[in-house]
């Protein structure tokens, strides 16, 4: 039974260091249902590490993480079922077609009756006509879209996007924007990192800056959301300090 979790993602006291290199320390993070959290941060601030920890790929040294109320340490598979990841690499096999890759992941996630679902996500990212092409033959942007299709295939509660705009053309960016809007409207959550201030602020409900091993959330008390100029200024200011 799914516990009635108030937050989609809840992280407490996360610490991670690589040998002598501290990356994250005393990091707290919570993302409500139906919201997009956009993370900004300088290169090497630990954005990718944080996403890889939330994606269950990297084990934090300390701290606890819960996704939809499921604790990562005790129920890792429940957490993995509820998370979709788009990182720098597509996680697809070059010598298989888009459809084969998606069927493979659908089977790994144990999806029942996956054929229509595969067609549906291919349609969503605009790859229906390329479904039976090998991933190797696709352009970078199309590979990224295929990766997005892979991430949303199992309808996760939380989507993790690491600089998703990289390599995407304008059309693909707008496809992704629409998809994310639908996603949060349906009550699901998104955490994404980006270097594009305008894009991030137009897609996010909350903005945070990763600095000094922690997430510093920027206030968004006024009703205008985070598109207000005060947030923009605050983020720019926080990034300058790095």
């Amino acid at each position: 039974m799914t516990a009635p979790a108030t937050e989609a993602v809840q992280a407490r006291g996360i610490e991670k260091s690589y040998g002598e290199w501290p990356v994250l320390w005393n990091l707290d993070l919570s993302v409500p249902w139906g919201q997009t959290l956009v993370l900004f941060g300088a290169n090497g601030a630990g954005k990718t590490t944080l996403l890889r920890i939330l994606a269950t790929h990297v084990r934090p040294d300390e701290g606890s993480i819960a996704v939809a109320g499921h604790n990562l340490r005790t129920r890792p598979d429940e957490v993995r079922r509820r998370i979709g990841v788009v990182g720098h690499r597509s996680l697809l096999y070059d010598d298989m077609t888009c459809r084969e890759n998606l069927v493979y992941y659908a089977r790994l996630f144990g999806l029942k009756d996956h054929k229509p679902r595969v067609d549906e996500v291919l349609e969503k990212v605009g790859l229906s006509n390329r479904a039976d092409h090998r991933v190797r033959t696709l352009s970078n942007g199309m590979q990224k879209r295929a990766a997005i299709a892979r991430a949303i295939l199992h309808q996760p509660d939380v989507l993790l996007l690491d600089e998703p705009e990289g390599g995407l053309d304008l059309e693909s960016v707008s496809i992704l924007g629409t998809l994310l809007a639908e996603w949060t409207d349906a009550g699901r959550s998104v955490i994404m990192t980006t270097h594009d201030l305008d894009l991030g602020l137009s897609w996010g409900h909350q903005a945070g800056v990763l600095r000094g091993g922690k997430v510093h959330l920027q206030d968004n008390n006024d009703s205008s959301g985070i598109t207000g100029s005060n947030i923009r200024q605050a983020v720019a200011e926080a990034l300058k300090g790095c």
Partner: protein, 224 residues
């Protein structure tokens, strides 16, 4: 048990599909396996009458070196675009990932050996199609696949991985090689199952032991 089998088969299906597309593993290892036998034939001066003595040793040297070559590639395709990462963030147990990769390697190696064996039998002049020899080959290859998958997963992440795998693999599988050569010598000599003595049970113990240990430590190897 059923929850374990399904993802294992999904992984095997994926690897076989990729192999069918590229064919770069099985075919190249096959050619290599033939070369090894030709080289050994001259290196050991395999004259008529000595073949039955030398054949098992040549056979297992060729199989062991082919295994190294095949295992070196076992995780390469999973590294290219992050396929292994994709597996690790899926709700699939680490045991299933290990068993899937080990089963794939076992299938590939058995295929290669099945193709090489008749050729070896003709070249080295021994009778290949005996139950005892086939059983020995199966058990020995299982040992190679289990230990090789574990070390391949480690080696693929280290510097100079092509060298790291044999350095880790050979000392550990030495008992399998010794026992397999001894069992094969008897099998080629026409002994029955009982005649193989304790060599088959020795391989069996090795296989069983490492089928328990390897999946367990594999989970730690996969951890970031």
């Amino acid at each position: 048990m059923k929850g374990l089998l399904r993802p294992v088969l999904v992984i095997v299906w994926k690897d076989i599909l990729l192999e069918l597309r590229s064919r770069d593993l099985v075919v190249s290892v096959l050619v290599f396996g033939l070369l090894v036998v030709v080289v050994f034939n001259f290196a050991l001066n395999n004259a008529p009458g000595r073949a039955e003595q030398l054949a098992p040793g040549i056979l297992w040297s060729a199989f062991a070196f082919s295994a190294i070559l095949a295992m070196n590639r076992a995780f390469v395709r999973d590294q290219e675009q992050g396929g292994l990462e994709g597996l690790l963030i899926s709700p699939v147990s680490r045991d299933a990932i290990f068993l899937g990769k080990a089963l794939t390697s076992l299938i590939f190696m058995l295929l290669i050996e099945a193709a090489l064996l008749p050729v070896y039998a003709v070249m080295l002049d021994f009778s290949a199609l005996t139950f005892t020899l086939v059983l020995t080959i199966f058990l020995g290859t299982l040992g190679f696949a289990v230990v090789g998958t574990l070390f391949s997963a480690m080696a693929v992440q280290t510097r100079s991985r092509e060298i790291m795998l044999p350095v880790l693999f050979f000392p550990v599988v030495l008992p399998v090689i010794i026992a397999a050569v001894e069992a094969s010598t008897r099998a080629v000599g026409g002994e029955t199952f009982v005649g193989l003595g304790r060599w088959l049970p020795l391989i069996g113990v090795f296989d069983a032991l490492f089928l328990v240990i390897c999946p367990w430590v594999f989970a730690y190897v996969m951890e970031e």
